[in-house]
């Protein structure tokens, strides 16, 4: 992890869309008068969501004005937390879990698929600029390892082929179905196992 610097090419302006604005105002209302600055993290996240998963400097300025706080304070927060992206990551932001449980279940195959379909290197945009990938630490879905996250959705129980299938879809602009790719509902046991004692179908 190196110091994440803001991207070189920055949009000139940023403004909340009407839905973001509504959401932001709702969050600001949660804080008592004079403590609106506490909403900065939530607002940065809203801006990131609105702006294809990254936060331009213009958005930081906009939020600083929105909450009446110094720019540098917003800038500090945005550079501190690694889940705020300061340069473009594409409309589809792929995060592949490579922590131990996923690694044991073959996460490196998922990484290979990323390299093949998206870009050679982490944090690099695909050719059509719609997608990028990065390795992350545990996303808390070890039961369904290996898995990855694309924007807000988890894609679980993957292997290399299924991952490539998903990438093909997102590169075409479709939204693939989230959840398990071995037909499980959530984290239910496979093969009709009912209890841990039941070793019949294990």
């Amino acid at each position: 992890m190196s110091l994440r610097r803001p991207a070189k090419n920055q949009p000139e302006t940023f403004e909340f869309s009407s839905s973001s604005l509504k959401e932001a105002n709702k969050i600001v209302l949660k804080y008592p008068e004079g403590k609106q600055q506490s909403a900065v993290m939530a607002l940065l996240y809203i801006a990131q969501k609105q702006n294809d998963n990254w936060i331009p400097l213009a958005a930081m300025k906009y939020i600083a004005k929105f909450l009446d706080m110094p720019y540098i304070k917003v800038y500090e927060v945005a550079t501190f937390y690694t889940m705020y992206n300061l340069s473009p990551v594409g409309k589809y932001f792929v995060q592949v879990c490579t922590t131990t449980p996923c690694m044991i279940r073959g996460a490196n195959k998922l990484v290979e698929a990323c390299k093949e379909k998206i870009s050679d290197k982490e944090n690099e945009l695909s050719n059509d600029k719609s997608c990028s990938w990065m390795e992350v630490e545990c996303l808390g879905a070890c039961v369904n390892a290996p898995m990855m996250q694309i924007n807000d959705n988890y894609y679980e129980d993957l292997d290399k082929e299924k991952t490539i299938e998903i990438f093909d879809k997102i590169l075409k602009g479709e939204d693939p179905k989230p959840g398990s790719y071995r037909g499980r509902l959530n984290t239910e046991p496979e093969n009709n196992r009912k209890t841990l004692m039941d070793t019949k179908n294990a």
Partner: protein, 676 residues
């Protein structure tokens, strides 16, 4: 009042103090980097670790409140080991480039590593390198040296009131920077150089100039504004290398303004180092005896009421006093003044021209009303106090004019004198606020005194405060904000002419001889006047002069200055005048000897004792001006705040290259329009 033990010594400390302060009280010195008395507590350097009984881990004493029954140890092997560990981490990424670092010799890290440093590093990895940051023309950065104490960040946000510095990134990648690397927009910015415990922020104009142990240090007072900040002047031979603040809790606390700190390079440029005489429009070098002879013959050949004299904004009180004596005794004439503008002044009472509530009083005040003043530029340190009062007590500030950013919020009115009139006639909402405030402060700037109806307004304000019993034993709400170091001193000495308007007479060319002592701000069209200019710098005054007498700057002679609160402080001689130049009082004394074969004073001591005697008599004497001057009708005016260019407000600052750079960097920011 908790009682605790530090190294088996019992101490009792006030509520709310920290363990570190308790240790200091018990005489145990605690090493620290991030902790600073005047800033909020951060607790992030961990250097101040001490052992506390019943605590398995060492505690950071700067962030731990002192509590009843604590048993603190600061000198055990356990503490030393903990501090050594911290120091090793701090040094892991610190480049050991002390030989080329300007902080060397006065570096906290260097000093403390003498005690807690380990001679060998176990850190085999590459040290990190951090790019340098642009922080303007005053602050040189070498961010690789930074140990992230965040003192500079806290200073900028809390004291200077400009939230422009911050720490970005995290962990090893943390960096201190201004937002997108603009220079800091504050007149107090250079104080971060003193605060920086390492060499990350150093002084740009002073870079590689000298080592601290080579410099002669003189504690003196500053003359760049009327606050009278206490400073230490460091000289190397004749040159003033730098100016640093010294602590005076009643005046400047620990800070000085950038002008105070950096105008000192103006002491090296444009200096008058030998007497000059103007022949056919050209200046030619001359000797002292020549110029004195010419001046004598000039004085003898003109009638005494055709002679006038003006004292400038940086002259010390001794010079002012001997100048007055020279006119009173040698020339038998009272055509002298220290004002360079038509300002209203009733010097019958001292409270009419000083800052009566005192600088410390700002913190007790509950309502501050600024009339015709912009304290940020007129008295930067005083403005920092107002900000401190605002931060600590949420003091309400009202300003008649919109004067831009003062580093604290204030309510601004329309800037018309009619508004002052209605407020102090008692019919406005603000009038009631002033009446109900227990310790209101009315700060009147020089701009108000220059108005046509200044007399009525001033008396109206004063009477309003009197009628409503705001003058109490411990509080005087009337405050005059002078801009120049010599103003109050000159008024105390009575270097004034209330009988006639000398300026008008000067402008209509009624005088034959004009004697200027450090006075460069007069605006008049010179005709046939013979102008004698005595001063330290070749500036506006010297330009129009026929004879130049080279004098000394404030660092080159002992002399008293009275600050805006009326506190008299002595400036000490740190260096000596250049070339043939002499101390100002000496020049006048010798001139008097040439004129009358008798010196005015035998030596400086006689001059001083005579001056103090005069001041004492003035204090006892109540001057009563009974004849009321006729008061013209009140007319509404727009009150414009006239501020001299902040970075060029006096001769020294005008000769300073650093001040020019500061001004330029400010102009650049303005013109690009990208500052946000």
């Amino acid at each position: 009042m908790p009682k605790l033990k530090v190294n088996d010594i019992e101490v009792e400390v006030e509520d709310g103090l920290t363990v570190l302060q308790a240790c200091e009280k018990a005489g145990a010195e605690i090493p620290r980097f991030c902790y600073h008395e005047k800033l909020s507590i951060a607790g992030n350097c961990r250097m101040c670790l001490v052992e506390m009984e019943k605590s398995p881990k060492p505690i950071a004493s700067c962030a731990m409140p002192a509590a009843e029954g604590m048993n603190i140890k600061t000198n055990t092997p356990f503490v030393e080991k903990a501090r050594k560990g911290v120091m090793e981490f701090l040094l892991a990424n610190h480049p050991l480039d002390c030989p080329v670092c300007d902080q060397g010799g006065e570096c906290d890290l260097q000093d403390q590593s003498m005690f807690y440093g380990v001679d060998k590093s176990r850190f085999k990895e590459n040290k990190r390198a951090v790019p340098e940051k642009n922080m303007g023309p005053l602050i040189k950065t070498q961010m690789t040296r930074c140990i992230h104490c965040t003192r500079c960040v806290r200073f900028a946000t809390e004291v200077a009131g400009v939230s422009e510095l911050g720490a970005i990134g995290r962990g090893e990648d943390m960096q201190i920077t201004t937002y997108l690397e603009h220079s800091m927009q504050s007149e107090l910015s250079a104080n971060v150089i003193d605060l920086c415990p390492v060499g990350a922020l150093t002084s740009k104009p002073y870079v590689f100039e000298a080592r601290p142990w080579e410099l002669k240090k003189t504690e003196t007072v500053d003359v760049m504004d009327a606050v009278g900040s206490n400073v230490r002047v460091d000289t190397y031979d004749w040159e003033v290398k730098r100016v640093l603040p010294i602590i005076n809790e009643d005046i400047n606390e620990e800070w000085i303004s950038d002008k105070t700190r950096y105008a000192c390079d103006g002491l090296l440029n444009q200096r008058l180092d030998t007497p000059f005489i103007k022949y056919n429009g050209k200046f030619e070098k001359a000797s002292w005896s020549e110029v004195f002879k010419i001046i004598k013959s000039k004085f003898e050949n003109s009638s005494k009421d055709k002679v006038c004299g003006f004292v400038g904004d940086l002259t010390n009180m001794e010079t002012g006093y001997i100048f007055k004596e020279f006119f009173d005794r040698t020339l038998n004439n009272i055509n002298y003044d220290s004002r360079s503008d038509n300002r209203y002044l009733d010097n019958s009472e001292r409270e009419n021209y000083i800052f009566n509530s005192s600088i410390n009083g700002i913190e007790d005040s509950d309502l501050i009303f600024l009339i015709g003043a912009n304290p940020r530029y007129e008295a930067t340190i005083l403005n920092a106090r107002i900000r401190k009062a605002f931060v600590n007590n949420n003091t309400k500030v009202i300003s008649l004019n919109d004067v831009g950013d003062l580093t604290y919020p204030y309510k601004n009115l329309d800037g018309q004198t009619q508004t002052i009139k209605t407020i102090f006639e008692g019919s406005e909402e603000i009038s009631k606020e002033i009446i109900s405030a227990s310790k209101p402060m009315i700060i009147i700037g020089e701009s108000l005194l220059k108005l046509n109806s200044s007399e009525q307004l001033f008396n109206l304000i004063k009477n309003f405060l009197k009628i409503n019993n705001k003058f109490t034993e411990g509080w005087n709400p009337l405050n005059l904000l002078s801009c120049d170091a010599a103003t109050v001193g000159n008024f105390d000495l009575g270097i004034l002419n209330n009988e006639k308007n000398l300026l008008e007479e000067l402008k209509s060319n009624k005088f034959e001889i004009v004697y200027l002592v450090g006075q460069d701000n007069l605006e008049f069209n010179k005709k046939d006047e013979f102008v004698i200019y005595q001063g330290s710098h070749g500036d506006k005054g010297a330009e129009i002069a026929d004879i130049i007498l080279p004098g000394s700057a404030y660092t080159e002679q002992d002399g008293y200055f009275t600050n805006l609160e009326g506190k008299m402080q002595k400036a000490y001689k740190a260096s000596y005048p250049p070339g043939e130049a002499k101390e100002d009082w000496q020049i006048i004394n010798e001139l008097a000897e040439v004129m009358n074969n008798r010196k005015l004073f035998n030596d400086k001591e006689e001059l001083e004792s005579s001056m103090f005697n005069y001041l004492k008599l003035q204090k006892e004497k109540q001057i009563n001006i009974n004849e009321k001057q006729k008061i013209s009708d009140f007319q509404n005016e727009k009150l414009n705040i006239q501020i001299k260019d902040y970075y060029f407000s006096n001769v020294i600052a005008r000769s300073s290259k650093t001040m020019i750079e500061c001004n330029n960097s400010k102009l650049n920011i303005k013109s690009t329009g990208t500052e946000g």
